[in-house]
């Protein structure tokens, strides 16, 4: 890796824009709050940004990736629960009840729009509502069912009402179409950047792009898009070439602050070329059809997200196989957060499908602590040696 670092010492200025965006974004949210703008907190990709922005509100992601707030959360939540759920909850109560305030945006939210994905999150939302008003959208858990789409559209209609009540603004079709168009542009930019990663020597490392995607629902869509344009421009003109066993990370989200496994993979010499993750392809892969009635078009696109809470989830397996081929993946690191039953159980079927395609899989289940770093390194080293 060290040789590669030297060769690719070219610093991309646009990457720094993402890294340094935090304080600016916090000030931006503070200012818009002063101007009367409502701030919506979200914790899942099934909640369409388009509706929130069409209503004149701003949005910020509340998925916790840091280990520090977990201790506070465990006063309320069981220890044997997914660290993302604990970290998110801990960050909110930390803002509401203590003076540390390390991630102030958790305390600036007027309404949380949550979703009925996994059991841990649903039950956590019941507690969360005590601190910040929380609206939970239901999701059809069998998305291929005949009535699933109509049901989801109804849930989006309810969300529309909730947002309109919150802001006092009406969501018009024109605004919705504008937001769809704008969100699609962002999706296309990300697709274009991922396209470059298909090359034999990609110009960007997985750990770099992950820090970008982690900002997707934190930054305002305009700022995120502007930075993406700069990143794509820079990648197109700068000569950077990375190599190493080509790895796909597939599984649970890696919320901002949670870089442990990808960093180990790339520090040990692997190169992550694609993330089948909520902080990866699932966040932007499909576009919303701009020619259809907007609510329906939004529903169709979002219901395609292949989360492991859905049944049956054949499309995730197909997506993984497709990506593995398109990105010429040597091996898959199946990443799960501890106690995430959906992704953990689904691992078996993913493993079977990959085996049939002759693609090796390394499974890593971990939390946000550093306690297992050395053990993970050993597994990753062995996996990379196996792929070479």
């Amino acid at each position: 890796m060290n040789d590669q670092m030297a060769e690719n010492d070219i610093i991309l200025r646009s990457l720094d824009l993402f890294k340094e965006a935090f304080p600016g974004r916090i000030n931006q949210i503070l200012k818009s709050k002063e101007g009367g703008k409502k701030i919506v907190g979200t914790l899942c990709l099934y909640v369409p940004d388009e509706l929130i922005y069409a209503c004149g509100a701003d949005r910020v992601i509340l998925c916790g990736g840091r280990s520090a707030p977990i201790e506070a959360a465990e006063e309320y939540l069981p220890r044997n629960l997914c660290p993302l759920i604990k970290s998110s909850f801990g960050s909110v109560i930390d803002q509401k009840c203590s003076k540390t305030k390390s991630c102030p945006h958790f305390g600036m939210v007027d309404l949380i729009v949550a979703e009925a994905t996994c059991d841990g999150k649903k039950k956590m939302y019941e507690l969360l509502d005590k601190y910040i008003p929380t609206h939970v959208m239901d999701l059809p858990q069998k998305p291929e069912n005949q009535n699933a789409l109509e049901y989801y559209i109804k849930e989006l209609e309810s969300l529309k009402d909730v947002l309109e009540n919150l802001t006092g603004n009406k969501i018009t079709d024109t605004q919705l179409r504008n937001e769809i168009k704008s969100a699609n542009e962002t999706r296309k930019l990300l697709r274009a950047i991922y396209e470059l990663r298909k090359s034999d020597s990609p110009p960007i490392r997985g750990t770099e792009i992950l820090k970008v995607v982690q900002q997707m629902h934190f930054l305002s869509p305009d700022e995120f898009k502007k930075n993406l344009v700069l990143l794509l421009d820079e990648l197109n003109v700068t000569k950077r070439e990375f190599s190493g066993p080509r790895i796909m990370i597939s599984g649970c989200p890696m919320a901002a602050g949670n870089m442990k496994v990808p960093e180990i993979i790339e520090n040990q010499g692997g190169l992550i070329v694609v993330e089948e993750s909520c902080t990866g392809t699932r966040a932007f892969w499909d576009l919303v059809d701009e020619n259809k009635e907007p609510m329906r078009a939004i529903a169709e696109r979002y219901l395609k997200i292949p989360c492991a809470c859905m049944y049956p989830n054949e499309r995730r397996i197909n997506q993984i196989l497709q990506l593995a081929g398109d990105f010429n993946v040597d091996g898959v690191v199946y990443y799960t957060l501890q106690f995430c039953h959906g992704y953990n159980v689904e691992k078996y079927r993913v493993g079977e499908a990959l085996k049939k395609s002759g693609i090796p899989l390394l499974s890593i289940e971990s939390d946000y602590s550093g306690a297992d770093t050395e053990q993970i390194k050993t597994r990753v080293d062995a996996f990379l040696e196996m792929l070479e």
Binding site: P360, E365, Q375, T378, R379, D381, A382, E385, M386
Partner: protein, 251 residues
Amino acid sequence: MISIGIDVGAATTKAVVLRDNEIAGYAIIPTGFDFRQAGEAAYREVLSNCGIGESEVGKILATGYGRSSIGFAEKTISEITAHARGVGYLIPAAHTIIDIGGQDSKVIITENGKVVDFLMNDRCAAGTGKFLEYTAKALEISLNELGTLALVSKHPAKISSMCTVFAESEVISLRAQKIKKEDIAAGLIESIILRTITMVKKLGIKHEVAFVGGVAKNPGVVKAFEKALDTKVQLPEEPQITGALGAALVV
């Protein structure tokens, strides 16, 4: 050409001297606190065991948990690859390798001496040498006695705790119930191999099966594996050195 492999494990550090592709000697020492010191000590000991001067050494490779602390090694490899190499050298017919060390247990599947799949236990000490070490203490016997004692058991006790700490208290309650010592010993061994057996089944057993690592020196564990897997388990003459040997074999 002389090459040396050093395997810095959580409990013991092993060094093997390979001279023209033949094992010339080895050393096994307790790791202690400092990985680097352990690596150096094992290195010096193996050199003196074999009567080799430092200038004759061609290359040094490190593996094991503390591999990155061995600054004088020219390369490091993971112990999984190392065991596969080492076992491939000693027992070429083996395609399933079970390694139970002081801190972890792993199962490796090989094809033509190369790793094709592997699993490692989770982060805690359940199902490892540490488990036996602690629970032997609860029986007031040594680790060696535990293995030989278990061989005479006719009715192994059921130990349901995988966790080392809980198993220790379970042993104490079994003692209170006047369960025979050998039956508790056998029960402990059955409980440690359960996890490893699950890993073997997950990967799919490929014959022959080799068993390496410090715990492979325990006859009770070997017997329990043979019974559970219904197959003969191959043991190298010195099961602790396959990692270090494998490192030395890396070109």
